[in-house]
């Protein structure tokens, strides 16, 4: 676990995977993965995605949760280009109650902290649909700089919409502690959701007996 101010980064394991089938069919997912086809994600698709990210040598999917241990969503760095030390940064609040909250922002800050302060990356790229004000606001507050607009780049609900492109350099990043202090992050006070029941027997057989 990497502890932050309002959220902690944790391995993306069962507590998160169990929500992922819902999360990967939420609007928030497609706002974060904006080039993806708008198609239903089955249980199998979700499993394959998590496995793919687990095996990836150029990226990772990491869970972020509230201080109460409530799973909020995921942060992703992907397509890491080792020679240039850059990667794509993505983040989503699967639990949409947290959309735009300081917990959501802290998830992004923790991704930057991990990428710059642990992985020694030099630059991160991020993107947002032009009308996605919540995401754009989070990116700006985290310190991303707007670097241009890809015109009509993404198909969205009968239209082709612009994509705003952002970047942040290690030299733009003041360090997590300093950034958090400057932003004065406040907890949203959202109640943790009840833990869902595990839904198949395989997990019980694997030794995680239900109490």
């Amino acid at each position: 676990m990497i502890e932050g101010k309002l959220v902690d980064l944790v391995p993306f394991e069962d507590d998160f995977a169990i929500h992922m089938e819902t999360w990967m069919n939420e609007e928030a997912w497609f706002r974060a993965r904006l080039w993806e086809r708008r198609e239903p994600h089955t249980e199998d698709d979700v499993k394959k995605f998590i496995e793919k990210m687990e095996k990836s040598e150029r990226g990772a999917l990491i869970g972020f949760q509230s201080k109460d241990g409530d799973p909020i969503g995921g942060v992703i760095f992907d397509h890491e280009w080792q020679r240039v030390r850059k990667a794509d940064a993505m983040f989503f609040a699967g639990d949409t109650r947290y959309e735009g909250t300081d917990e959501h922002l802290d998830g992004l800050l923790m991704l930057l902290r991990y990428c710059f302060e642990t992985r020694n990356l030099h630059r991160l790229d991020a993107s947002a649909l032009a009308f996605d004000e919540v995401r754009i606001d989070l990116l700006r507050r985290a310190g991303f700089v707007h670097e241009g607009t890809l015109r009509q780049h993404i198909r969205y609900d009968g239209d082709y919409v612009d994509v705003e492109m952002f970047g942040i350099l290690a030299e733009d990043w003041p360090g997590y502690e300093q950034k958090v202090a400057a932003l004065d992050l406040q907890p949203s006070g959202i109640e943790p959701k009840p833990k869902p029941e595990k839904k198949d027997d395989k997990e019980t057989e694997a030794g995680e007996a239900k109490s």
Partner: protein, 203 residues
């Protein structure tokens, strides 16, 4: 019809000699740095063969790119051009070109190849937008793509490392609605005259 006929170049299916000989030359000369935003490590024939083998199975693994070999009108193989990522869902593709022979830089070969590829992407693949990236220091590429109708869209600060220097990466976009068509640009850019000056009157 899988050969696209231009005025200075034809775009054709790859031949084995390209992968066996040309790629080895291009991966080890200056052109690589320009085509890849700074890569330049010495690369062996065996490494090239492995890369080629890996790539040849990519389509089965879902790779959507479409690539052509570039042959100049004098018969010489001079490079390649294509779409590195064709996104049929969003009808967008990323375009990339590599002229490995320095004697063919300038003079319109790249522009001719670019117009053929754009035309192909719009008319055969039904793309409605094309993107391409280059480096801040590659002024030749910037001039060429702007002449071909691409518009500057983003500047990624320090997104490339070239010979020890951080370089900005520039991205350009072209919408099908803004494209005047290949014929119009061939006229406007004087490609027939350029071809005639270099290769004499032909068909």
């Amino acid at each position: 019809m899988t050969t696209l006929h231009g005025l200075l170049v034809d775009l054709e299916p790859f031949v084995p000699a390209f992968h066996q000989e040309k790629m080895h030359a291009y991966w080890n000369n200056e052109s690589r740095l320009w085509a890849t935003m700074g890569d330049c490590e010495p690369t062996t024939r065996a490494q090239i063969a492995r890369i080629h083998e890996e790539r040849s199975g990519a389509r089965e693994r879902g790779y959507t790119g479409v690539h052509f070999m570039m042959r100049a009108r004098d018969g010489n193989i001079i490079g390649s051009i294509g779409l590195n990522w064709v996104d049929y869902w969003n009808r967008t593709a990323w375009l990339g070109a590599w002229i490995g022979e320095k004697d063919y830089w300038g003079g319109g070969h790249g522009t001719d190849a670019l117009l053929l590829t754009v035309d192909y992407a719009f008319r055969w693949l039904d793309m409605r937008r094309l993107c391409l990236g280059t480096m801040d220091i590659n002024e030749r590429a910037q001039r060429n793509v702007e002449k071909a109708g691409f518009r500057f869209e983003t500047r990624e600060r320090k997104a490339a490392l070239v010979n020890g220097r951080w370089i900005d990466a520039l991205n350009y976009g072209l919408l099908r609605d803004d494209w005047p068509g290949r014929e119009a640009l061939v006229d406007q850019l004087g490609l027939r005259e350029k071809a005639e000056r270099r290769y004499g009157k032909g068909d």
